[in-house]
Symmetry: C2
Subunit: 343 residues, 2 copies
């Protein structure tokens, strides 16, 4: 039985659910995959850091953070000077990077992941930023180090999108994809169909914790554009920045337009599309009316959808219904199993 | 560069498309996966057999079969006495089994596959019969022989259903699945929505080549039940025969019922469901009305859909749109790559 030492960089909601999922899944990891895990390092922005080679009690860590206290009391070694120092001194086999990320730069996640790889760790993240801004660099570095850089949860939570194009779909050329990838705008349209104004609908999604205080990231299409950029970069193999995605947000969609579509048996969706054109990709995020014969129509609430067109599959769609932090945490766990499978 | 010798047992539409796809995909197989293929044996029920260790010209074979002639002229070795003799003497590395199958027994496909495995071949089929009737035996034999028994195209053509639960979804427990898995009934309902009677709609699907002369296999739900049995056996890990699936066909659905649903913004679908209950599975095939908020609603024509509920993913759906024989052939090719990947 191999033991894999785990470092958790970022200890927000998803990382805490992951920490518990690792405990819950120990029997299956041990019996089916031949390894166990031990959390040896946790690094946070506002709750300090902990380093304990003998293993950190995850429930104690969650209780401390939930009560606003520092993790430092769980550390059995002198405290690290910085997050990068924590990573280097953790001697972990696998690094999970889920700290708050700057979408415009992918930092500090990229630095955390690079440092982990340099130390010989597998690195796994649910952050889109490093995929969009450093996919090539981190993938090449991982290959040099004989390690994995995986990020299944970066798009559509735990639904297998990136791993789908590893084993299951070999020797096929992806020509295009399209989808409904931003939940907040999807929910805003749904609330507007129910009679809420745009402003009310935005406020509701903020109360639900979906939209940020500044909702621009969602309603101006940036979140969708980042996801399109990540999918294009990895799955089409054509690097694309969010700024290169032709982007129209949903601010111009009025209640009258929503009701007009509804009367016609249609719905507005913020639709993402990307199509390969030679060495380039033409990518777009824009609101569109879809009818009930479209698979986009039934994507409600926080659910999402993407479909791929390849040279051998005219249409392959993936629906993710009702995701939760556990779904995202599962994507991270799946990456862990796939990273260490061939160790 | 490894060369993989291929035997094609059954040379109908899908096998011929596969033979051409193998030629088309030689560059990517060689460059990305490090192997080439050569067809050394073809066995048919009505067009004879051919055995040529130096490689059979696929276009010549297709031309002979299309013009109603025998493949024997392509053979450079004495003709085999039987299909099993062909398999044994082919010295192939990979056997593709796509001969006409008896759904009640899985034969003669099971015998072909068993013989291939006994000879040390990877065996791959698009037939559901062997999965339903001999999954355990053939999987165990493959493991003993250090070979693979793969069948991605047996359900939903080339859409990755079985491979999804290998690499992409480790350490998760599938609790249930549901879907629209039979195209013929889906098309019959669609034609009835357009105003055709049940009998007219059945006749149309027969003209399209979808339904058999005796349409019972589709309209009495047997094809759907076989698919449910295959998915339960492999993905839930609970062996199930088609007869154990509670099965209601579509003969009782009248034009009036179809139009009544339509007026309510709903559609009839032949819905498959299966749910784990302890060590057992409760499985059902029956026509149901679905509304436009259901992902089943937009599954039209020959498209199909399945969604899984696992302990970590509340809902993961796979849509396959507009499949063709090329889609099925691609599933076989994907199995080939995955079978020989670790040779």
């Amino acid at each position: 039985m191999q033991e894999k030492k785990v470092a958790l960089i970022g200890f927000g909601n998803v990382a805490r659910v992951l920490a518990r999922l690792l405990v819950e899944k120990q029997p299956v990891l041990q019996q089916q995959y031949g390894f166990s895990t031990r959390v040896v390092a946790i690094g946070t922005g506002h709750h300090g850091m902990a380093l304990n080679p003998a293993g950190i009690d995850v429930e104690q860590a969650i209780a401390l953070v939930n009560s606003g206290q520092s993790l430092e009391s769980l550390s059995t070694l002198p405290l690290p000077e910085s997050m990068l120092d924590l990573i280097r001194r953790s001697e972990a086999d696998v690094l999970f990077e889920n700290s708050p990320v700057n979408h415009a730069t992918g930092q500090p996640a990229i630095d955390h992941l690079r440092t982990g790889l340099q130390c010989g760790m597998h690195v796994i993240t649910a952050n889109k930023g490093p995929v969009v801004h450093a996919y090539r660099e981190l993938t090449d570095l991982a290959a040099q180090q004989g390690r994995h850089f995986l990020f299944e949860s970066a798009v559509m939570d735990g639904a297998p999108i990136f791993s789908l194009f590893r084993e299951p779909l070999p020797a096929t050329e992806v020509r295009a994809f399209s989808g409904v990838l931003n939940s907040t705008t999807n929910m805003i349209f749904e609330l507007m169909e129910q009679g809420h104004s745009f402003a009310e609908a935005v406020a509701r999604t903020q109360q639900m914790g979906m939209a940020e205080t500044d909702p621009s990231n969602d309603i101006d299409g940036w979140d969708a554009a980042i996801k399109v950029a990540a999918l294009s970069t990895v799955i089409l193999g054509i690097p694309l920045t969010p700024a290169q995605v032709e982007r129209t947000g949903i601010r111009a969609i009025t209640s009258a337009m929503i009701q007009d579509a509804r009367a016609a048996g249609e719905r507005w969706k913020l639709v993402c599309t990307a199509r390969r054109a030679g060495e380039h990709v033409v990518a777009r995020v824009a609101p569109e009316r879809v009818d009930s014969d479209s698979p986009f129509y039934s994507i409600r609430g926080t659910s999402s959808y993407v479909q791929f067109e390849t040279d051998t599959l005219p249409g392959l769609g993936i629906v993710e219904s009702d995701p939760s932090p556990r779904t995202t945490a599962y994507g991270l766990l799946a990456d862990l199993v796939n990273a260490v499978r061939h160790d």
